[in-house]
Symmetry: D2
């Protein structure tokens, strides 16, 4: 509303993100993805006799978070740049029981004709430097309105329950850790170590499951 | 499960309707329609400064209700016939404030490229014999899965808040009224009379709104 | 946060109302009342074979709305005064099918030992000057925490579906009507007239219901 | 409804558990506990600057599950016995981030004057023989209706996110494991081993958190 220089830009992101029409369209994209995952969950449950997805959640990226990410990446801080450059303006997270479940679900989702896969980032096979394990799938889904059809980009994060446990703690510890010099580095190393430990347990639990399945 | 003659068919409807994969697909169609209505609501709110839809609800037709309708219409009592012949297997109801709001929303919804209008039944201009006022729009919307794309038919009922009041009472009184001979007929006439009275008040309230708008 | 004179007070209401601990306690009170109404609904459904409550909704009064009401009533504009003087800081609305249902539900709710009735305002028997029909019950319910027990005041509004229709339209038309001089007065009179008409239809529908019940 | 011998009893549990009045009362107890946990969550967040509860879920025990448990424990299979003997007819589960969070939340909840602690079972300090870690708190909370006040027993399970991960996999693997003789025993041992491993990681993550807090 106020037209002071400098401030104007950030205000634009705030108002763009809280615009009810923007949010309803994002909600359409989220619902499409969530319902597709639920559909795949049911198909797989019928075939395998077990549930593969523990829970699904979603969020529309906040103005605050958009600003921080644009700055961190060295982009212009405005809404148009955000829509063009950031893949996670709309985010859905599916927490699965086992690692191989994730690949099966991704494979099926990719066959849906109204889903366009833009990019895959496999942080399970190549974990991030801090130890983070996850599979990110960037897709586009169509959202129709009386002004035509708009492709909406959605980042779908797939994690196992175990990875999710580590990531949640890491996130909680993240803020303080960053501000703490040498001691902070030690802690970071330790957290990384436990990420690896958890990943090992994860793989072993999967192995046990497979053993049981062949009984 | 049991394969007794006669019973078998009705069991089929029961199990088809409670099949989780059927329900998820119906839920996809419902979400699409509900989100579209919400999007239109927001567009119109921006243009007119007022809310047009009071509330939206939805349901998947129960086995019991499918059976009753197939029998009443003289069709075969099986799920395939139901899917082919009944337009309201999936139902969404939007309760609007004024009569002209209904026509505006229907007009906009019809322009969405992924919505195919199958049929319109205007019980506002031509009320049913019992006095029922409503606008029924039968549409088809696409639901994608890994087995391809399926068109799902949805009946969208548009009522004003006033019509909804009458219809709810009528529904509550319906069962007993039907079993009651001559006295029942008198009551039916009286209910019809009040449907007309409510429709008149509805139109007058709309006229008042228009007067206020031109001030 | 800012300590400018004049502004400070209104900021206090804003921050008090959005305080998450305040909201959780209000939510406790709302849940208690809603669940009690649902319990009574089920008891009565068993006895009478029909549903008496169409729907229930609730809200915590916004800072904006608190401020407006305190000003209108000539009170000091601060949160302590609001908590002391305003009965509707927490509001629940139950929309019922028939007028006599309202009195039955109020009677039963009043017997609950953890509900203290503070005041009854019967705008059904004595409608407000603008034509508004409703029954307001002010109660207190206990909310426990580790700092002990706090009595929370809740205004429960009971309306019939028909009264709700009128009140919703009246609310939509309210703003413009107020700013419009003589023509505004005419419209106000007309709206009042239709409130009375709707009340008459309401009573007649109730009479029909009773006739049917004695068949 | 049918009064065949033998069958009658199980039918009673089924109908008692699906009775809408029973379910609403259970729902009252669940809401009370959930809202108390949410209130404590907010108080602690204000004091510590971090969230302690990841998520809360709840369930009313199904007829099937009641029957199985009564049989397993050698009790009579009827609803009255179930209400008297089983503590988990109503269950709430709070999944927390760290072990010490659990003890803090239990301490605070126990001070609420309308909560009566019946029993504590600390499977964190003394894990179950299969490796299960959790803290079970059996409480009673009052539910009021127009027939007076009824104390409702609720089992509240507190787990860490890590324990929850293990327990969910264990539950998924449980059915097949039980039917599998010697190989089954090996797997059971292995699962137990990983429960211990996860508990160790859990304690280490807690230690890291405390180190960070003292920085």
């Amino acid at each position: 509303m106020r037209r002071k220089k400098g401030k104007a830009v950030t205000t634009d992101i705030e108002s763009a993100v809280t615009d009810i029409k923007y949010r309803v369209k994002c909600q359409c994209a989220i619902s499409m993805v969530e319902l597709k995952l639920q559909m795949i969950q049911e198909e797989l449950a019928e075939e395998t006799g077990r549930k593969m997805i523990s829970h699904i959640c979603s969020r529309i990226k906040s103005a605050e978070s958009i600003r921080r990410k644009l700055l961190k990446k060295g982009y212009d801080v405005d809404f148009e740049t955000a829509k063009e450059k950031l893949n996670d303006m709309i985010g859905v997270r599916a927490t699965c029981f086992f690692e191989d479940d994730i690949y099966e679900i991704v494979k099926r989702l990719s066959t849906h004709k109204d889903v366009t896969v833009i990019k895959e980032k496999d942080y399970i096979k190549k974990p991030k430097s801090n130890g983070y394990h996850s599979f990110h799938l960037i897709v586009e889904v169509p959202v129709y309105s009386d002004s035509g059809c708009e492709q909406k980009r959605v980042e779908i994060q797939f994690r196992t329950v175990a990875m999710d446990f580590w990531a949640q703690l890491d996130y909680q510890l993240c803020y303080k850790r960053e501000m703490s010099g040498e001691q902070g580095e030690d802690i970071q190393k330790e957290l990384h170590h436990y990420a690896d430990e958890i990943a090992k347990i994860d793989k072993n639990m999967m192995r046990i499951r497979k053993e049981i399945e062949t009984m």
